[in-house]
């Protein structure tokens, strides 16, 4: 067998495996959504779906909530990006880092922190109510407004980071060229800067749209009767309407892919795609000179940072409040370590943390290996390998575009049947299903990072290693992996964060033995054990932040 043929077979095998893991469950789900396996016959579930107005309402709500989230996140994130990329003022560095914080907060933890802060008996609600001297809460944290608030809080970070990064790459000579041609500030902004930012803004918009569309925690906790597609799917499943849930999943996937295609199409039609490859030195930061403006800016910055940190701080405070000690007082009268001690008392109490840890680590390691192997094939341009490269990189990206709820339902559908010849195994209800689901969800993070890094790796480095007599393993260990380390570490930390804090996939697929932290938080909330839930939330956040700080920001050695 020639080298090209061998490469072809290996790539084909990998393609099949990835297809089974990533695309096959979606396919099975779509097929059974059409078939109506649980009675009704061909097309019946779809017909039922189409005829129910509440389904259309949920679909429409998912769409407008997602679009509104994009608009709100952009409205907050883009100006912040400009401010922190262009202006120089005291505290810019620290604040600039703090602003990225919400992205590292597990969604469910963010939601319960908001609940503790702005909920009916939340801290802020009590304080404001007390100031206004009203006996009832001054606002109600429910419905679309609450969802949008949480979405804006956690998703402006995409716009903020992307705008900042794009501005940091922006060629300052372009601004000078515009000025020398007589363009004023406004013209330069609208004709030069914003067009240059289009690719970054489009990417942030796609990311926000998909995240908002797949968002589950906020609608689940705050939505109440305001159902969006993700919560609708779970409700249908819990009511036993498995077929309807599959149709809903199908529609959610279609909506996600339509959004992705529309955004890609808009981006492609724009004339400004070249901007991504711009090189040059960014313009100097403009120091804010007027002392009053400096003071105002700094104060506003720190106030904003406090606003961002308030949910975290509240969460920590609540974790010290013993059960049933805080009723009508403005601030908790008793603070103690009792909630934390309770966690250490029984092995059972620590179990969710251990579960989440081992499942997230296993999923991350799996996604790391699979992502790297897939990336190697995805960048292979040699004869034999090249024909598989595109489809493999597409498969790696798919779980990113498909909402997590949809994925969970697809896995639940596909892996609840034992039919090895059809590639279906009875995994639902076993220990293996959650790590597997986490792995698939984590694959885009590790795979895309590896693909990008391998694409930038100088192929001559590996050749130089071979020319020096190093075999394949030594080249991998001494040259390739060290070069890819920062990218792989960043990808792995994202993968770990997502798996460790996961709530969406878990709520569909967990078993009692493998219940993760997020599920434990939810059940404690239901039992009114707010302190214990907060302790779990603090643990989840602390470990996530540790992972993020440890691996997420490794710098490349040049």
């Amino acid at each position: 067998m020639t080298a090209a043929a061998r490469r072809g077979w290996i790539a084909a095998g990998l393609f099949l495996f990835l297809f089974w893991l990533v695309a096959y469950p979606l396919l099975i789900t779509m097929l059974s959504a059409f078939r109506g396996e649980n009675g009704g016959g061909l097309g019946a579930p779809i017909a039922a779906f189409v005829q129910r107005p509440d389904e259309w309402t949920a679909l429409f709500r998912s769409l407008w909530i997602s679009l509104a989230s994009v608009a709100l996140a952009a409205a907050v994130g883009v100006p912040l990006g400009f401010l922190f990329a262009r202006a120089e003022f005291p505290g810019r560095r620290v604040l600039g880092e703090l602003l990225a914080l919400p992205v590292a907060l597990p969604p469910l933890v963010g939601v319960i922190a908001f609940l503790y802060l702005y909920g009916e008996s939340g801290m802020a609600t009590r304080v404001v109510g007390n100031l206004l001297r009203t006996s009832s809460a001054p606002w109600r944290l429910t419905g679309a407004g609450a969802i949008l608030l949480v979405h804006t809080y956690s998703m402006y970070v995409y716009f903020y980071l992307f705008t900042r990064a794009a501005l940091a790459r922006f060629d300052g000579a372009q601004l000078e060229a515009a000025a020398s041609l007589g363009a004023g500030r406004w013209r330069t902004l609208t004709r030069v800067v914003l067009p240059g930012l289009t690719p970054a803004l489009a990417a942030a918009a796609i990311l926000t749209f998909l995240t908002a569309l797949g968002s589950f925690s906020a609608p689940y906790i705050f939505g109440g009767s305001f159902r969006v597609m993700t919560t609708q799917i779970l409700a249908s499943r819990q009511n036993g309407d498995v077929d309807v849930a599959q149709v809903e999943t199908l529609f959610l996937i279609v909506l996600a892919i339509a959004g992705l295609l529309v955004a890609r199409g808009l981006e492609r039609r724009s004339r400004w795609r070249v901007a991504a490859t711009q090189r040059g030195t960014p313009p100097e930061r403009r120091a804010v000179r007027s002392p009053a403006a400096r003071f105002a800016l700094t104060l506003a910055g720190w106030l904003f940072a406090l606003l961002l940190l308030l949910p975290h701080l509240t969460l920590i405070l609540i974790s010290f409040v013993p059960p049933a000690t805080w009723t009508t007082e403005l601030f908790p009268p008793v603070l103690s370590l009792v909630n934390y001690r309770a966690l250490g008392k029984t092995a059972e109490a620590l179990r969710p943390v251990m579960n989440s840890l081992w499942m997230a680590i296993a999923a991350t390691l799996g996604a790391l290996v699979l992502g790297f192997v897939a990336a190697r094939r995805a960048v292979d341009r040699r004869p034999g390998g090249a024909i598989w490269a595109r489809s493999i990189s597409l498969l790696v990206a798919i779980p990113w575009a498909v909402p997590a709820t949809a994925y969970a339902v697809a896995l639940a559908t596909t892996m609840s049947v034992h039919a090895p010849l059809a590639g279906r195994f009875l995994l639902v209800g076993t220990v293996g299903i959650l790590p597997l689901a986490y792995l698939v969800r984590a694959l885009p993070a590790t795979g895309q990072a590896a693909i990008a890094a391998l694409g930038q790796l100088d192929p001559q480095l590996e050749e130089a290693s071979a020319a020096l007599g190093a075999g394949k393993l030594r080249t991998l260990r001494r040259v390739t992996l060290p070069r890819l380390r920062p990218a792989l570490a960043a990808g792995a930390s994202l993968a770990f964060l997502a798996a460790f804090g996961d709530f969406v996939v878990s709520i569909v697929l967990y078993t009692y033995e493998t219940r993760p932290v997020s599920i434990e938080i939810l059940s404690n909330l239901r039992l009114q054990e707010t302190g214990v839930a907060a302790v779990y939330g603090v643990l989840l956040t602390a470990l996530s932040a540790a992972a993020f700080l440890l691996w997420g920001r490794e710098k490349e050695v040049r």
Binding site: E463, A464, A467, G469, G471, K472, R483
Partner: protein
């Protein structure tokens, strides 16, 4: 092959023999039956324009590409099926391909570690290798901390440290700025001669090939045009391409009046009216039109009416080049010819007459299909 202990370096070198190496990329033939031998210790410069296949040939020898046909041997061992890691060659890449995450010392030690050489010996050999390229004590430096010229020398030290059988150099100087290139080239030449390692060097610069190569192989369109000493390629080009690619040349169309085994008589066309001369070149010529190849130093100015004059024309431009100048003379039918002159150039625009120098050895080549001369005046 592992070489134990301390032997003199040249003992590691081996003959490199290529026979009928061919390679196609799709429909395009990149290499078409290239054969040559590099005796042990010799530096062979593979010279050619871009697209001539020289880099592909080097990559085939290194093992990064596979030839469609032909054999490559080191001494008596056929290596064309060996993976690059087992060929025991050293290679210096065009952009050096130094490992940026390793220090200078770790880079140089890399090939030694791959050959499982004991730790203590590695440090010693790294120091020796670095000293050889004038970088003693640079072990702990980062690659990003050293200059481009130093990086080039680290790349050389890294390739040489394991004492490979053959050294491959891929345009090793092209990444340096011109002032540094000249100096580095001299250093490289000295190092190569001192070590006496079998070397295959790829370059598109004639000066580099002539300076570094014991012999030069000129590649064009995937074929070996000529292989030989630099002066052989310069003085006795085997093909019209070699004649045009190497050095400065002029081609003028002439009539071959009489051709036989002992030579030819040339008249007419671009020659001055009535001018004729005999060439001792034998073989391959038929009577009819041909191109006469002349180097600027084969001609000299002569007085008007000199019976030996070959060309008459107008001087159109002059290029001052230090000890001598190159004068461009326009012949009838807007053909141009270049002549080297030692003294002051004549007034431009005036008619001049040219004759062959006594020691000139011009050659005839079959008339070119097109008017463009490959690499003329480059």
């Amino acid at each position: 092959m592992r070489r134990a202990g301390k032997k003199t370096i040249s003992s590691a070198a081996a003959d490199l023999i290529l026979e009928d190496v061919g390679k196609r990329f799709g429909d395009k033939s990149v290499l078409d039956g290239v054969s040559f031998a590099v005796p042990r210790g010799e530096v062979l410069a593979l010279l050619g324009p871009s697209g001539s296949g020289k880099t592909t040939l080097l990559r085939i020898v290194a093992g990064f590409e596979t030839a469609d046909r032909g054999s490559i041997r080191v001494g008596a061992e056929a290596i064309e099926r060996l993976p690059p890691a087992r060929r025991d060659f050293g290679m210096v890449f065009q952009h050096y391909a130094l490992f940026p995450h390793l220090t200078v010392g770790e880079n140089v030690a890399f090939g030694l570690e791959a050959r499982s050489i004991p730790k203590g010996e590695i440090a010693e050999r790294v120091a020796t290798a670095l000293a050889r390229v004038d970088l003693a004590g640079f072990e702990r430096r980062r690659i990003s901390e050293i200059s481009g010229g130093q990086q080039q020398r680290v790349a050389l030290a890294r390739a040489l440290a394991p004492e490979p059988r053959v050294l491959l150099l891929d345009e090793p100087l092209s990444n340096l700025d011109p002032t540094l290139r000249e100096r580095t080239r001299r250093e490289l030449a000295t190092t190569l001669r001192r070590i006496g390692i079998t070397t295959l060097l790829v370059t598109h610069e004639q000066e580099e090939a002539f300076d570094l190569g014991d012999r030069v192989a000129l590649l064009h369109g995937g074929r070996l045009e000529q292989i030989g000493l630099p002066q052989e390629l310069y003085r006795e080009p085997a093909t019209r391409f070699v004649a045009g690619f190497i050095g400065r040349s002029s081609f003028v169309p002439v009539n071959v009046e009489l051709a036989n085994d002992s030579g030819a008589t040339v008249t007419g066309l671009a020659l001055a009216p009535g001018a004729a001369f005999s060439l001792p070149q034998s073989g391959l010529l038929v009577e009819g039109t041909a191109d006469l190849w002349l180097r600027p130093e084969m001609l000299e100015l002569c007085a008007a009416g000199d019976p030996a004059r070959l060309f008459t024309g107008n001087s159109v431009s002059v290029r001052f080049n230090g000890a001598m100048s190159y004068l461009t003379v326009q012949l009838p039918e807007s053909r141009e010819i270049e002549v080297m002159i030692a003294g002051d150039p004549p007034v431009l625009g005036e008619p001049v007459e040219l004759k062959l120098r006594a020691d000139a050895r011009p050659r005839l080549f079959a008339a070119a299909a097109s008017a463009t001369e490959p690499g003329a005046g480059a």
